[in-house]
């Protein structure tokens, strides 16, 4: 194992190199990130034996990955923001066709007004596209997700494409020391991709066809089952990962000081670190604060979320997303989990970080304070509750 000083993008590219994809398709223009540039250099210097296809759009990047996967190849692409939205049509073809493509998405703002700073509205808008959705917190986790992603996606019980999300700039463009696994370890962890869901001259198939009302919903049911099956496959994969690489992950979510917590912030991605630091600080002052970091939005950790929040006095969902006219989508999902489990805990939604706006430690401290005293249901950090402008 060697150590390197890498950005989140570069760490993810190192993980993908170890995963040996056979086809990489990418559109290189904004809002694309460095991950595909690093991969193109790896293909150029011969350290990654893959077909690298420069395409003319994100829509084509995903189409190309689908074609590669339908030929039995391990395929990779990456995108971000409006690129993901332009690709959206093809996301459904990939998931419905059960092609286990892996894609890195740099979570960035969506138009208008557009910018290239981080928020999570791009990927959260695609929760219903049938993809597994993971959210990394740091560069090491990004690399490890890259390696685990194919093993999860390609498992026959799952056969579902996998979107690994990295917070734009905060994670994709900041540098950390990252452990790079050995090639031999990676090969032991991740066998080559084998599938029957591919073009085969000896056994011709119709692929990616339409299906009428009588069978269509059965395909959709099976697609749902595939994403649900990822729950146990993620657990198995993380266990095997820990055995070979020594790093442990905690499944669909990661809990911090939640055992006895009265007030819990539930969030995604890189902001979790600052939440944990703030929780530590509050604990020194006698406030029983905890943090839940959701690692997978799909499959959603319904039982786990309900279990960890059940005994809290109040929780906040802090997210870089808003479903206009309603609330943040993570909040909707978390509330549904609690409702289904019959848990009755007061929850509040805090929208922050849109368009890359900074979320500070004092903002987070204020969230803990607000949910202790009660506040409006949906709040915009730095602006106030939704009734603020009324």
């Amino acid at each position: 194992m060697s150590k390197k000083f890498l950005s989140g993008n570069e760490a993810f590219a190192e993980g993908i190199r170890l995963a040996r994809p056979q086809v990489i398709s990418a559109y290189p223009i904004t809002p694309q990130t460095i991950v595909v540039e690093r991969l193109s250099e790896m293909v150029e210097d011969g350290s990654l034996n893959a077909e690298y296809v420069h395409v003319e759009s994100e829509h084509s990047a995903m189409s190309c990955a689908i074609g590669a996967s339908a030929a039995g190849a391990r395929a990779f692409t990456a995108t971000s923001s409006q690129g993901l939205l332009y690709m959206a049509e093809c996301l459904y073809y990939a998931s419905g066709g059960r092609f286990p493509i892996v894609m890195m998405n740099a979570d960035r703002s969506t138009a208008l007004p557009w910018n290239i700073y981080g928020d999570q509205r791009d990927s959260l808008s695609q929760l219903d596209s049938g993809w597994i959705q993971a959210y990394a917190e740091n560069a090491q986790e990004a690399l490890d997700l890259a390696l685990m992603s194919y093993r999860i996606a390609e498992d026959k019980r799952v056969s579902t494409p996998y979107m690994a999300n990295l917070d734009g700039f905060v994670l994709t463009h900041t540098y950390e020391t990252v452990d790079i696994p050995e090639r031999e370890q990676a090969d032991r962890f991740l066998p080559p991709y084998e599938t029957d869901n591919r073009i085969d001259l000896d056994a011709p198939k119709n692929m990616a066809f339409s299906a009428g009302p009588d069978t269509n919903y059965i395909f959709k049911y099976k697609e749902h089952e595939g994403v649900l099956a990822a729950r146990e496959v993620i657990a198995e994969t993380e266990k095997a990962f820990a055995e070979i690489f020594g790093r442990k992950y905690t499944g669909l979510l990661e809990n911090y000081r939640t055992e006895d917590a009265d007030y819990i912030i539930v969030t995604l991605g890189s902001i979790a670190g600052l939440c944990r630091e703030t929780a530590d600080k509050l604990r020194e002052n006698g406030v029983k604060a905890g943090v839940v970091r959701i690692r997978y939005m799909r499959p959603f950790p319904n039982e786990e979320v309900a279990e960890v929040l059940r005994n809290a006095k109040a929780y906040a969902v802090l997210e870089k997303d808003i479903s206009f006219g309603n609330e943040g989508t993570v909040f909707t999902n978390v509330n549904s989990a609690l409702k289904k489990a019959g848990a009755d805990v007061k929850g509040y939604n805090f929208i922050g970080g849109l368009g890359g706006r900074n979320i500070s430690a004092s903002d987070i401290e204020k969230i803990y304070n607000d949910i202790t005293n009660g506040t409006e249901s949906v709040n915009f950090i730095g602006i106030g509750g939704e009734s603020n402008g009324k």
Binding site: N197, N206, K222
Partner: protein, 97 residues
């Protein structure tokens, strides 16, 4: 080779594949209902040159015993075969319902 028209119309849950792929060579229905004119081959004239076979966009023409034969279950009546036939062995006739 002519594709098979699948006899079976209903599939049980277990028969539906996990992914959207299925053994090739099966079609669910015949498909020619909107044809208003049909190509008719004059076998006495036809020399089996295969030009119509090559140009047919639907792949419904085959050569049997040296003569062109049309599969009316799938011919859409576009008329390209009649147009391409140099010896005028194909004529388009009104479809009689």
């Amino acid at each position: 080779m002519r594709p098979h028209i699948r006899e079976k119309k209903c599939f049980t849950f277990d028969e539906v594949p996990e992914n959207t792929s299925f053994e090739a060579g099966y079609l669910t229905t015949v498909n020619s209902g909107w044809r208003s004119i049909r190509p008719v081959i004059n076998s006495a004239k036809c020399v089996g040159c295969e030009q119509c076979y090559l140009y047919c966009p639907d792949g419904v023409i085959s050569i049997q015993d040296g003569k062109a034969v049309i599969d009316y279950d799938f011919c859409k009546g576009c008329g390209i075969c009649a147009k391409i036939c140099k010896i005028k062995a194909i004529e388009m006739e009104a479809e009689r319902k």
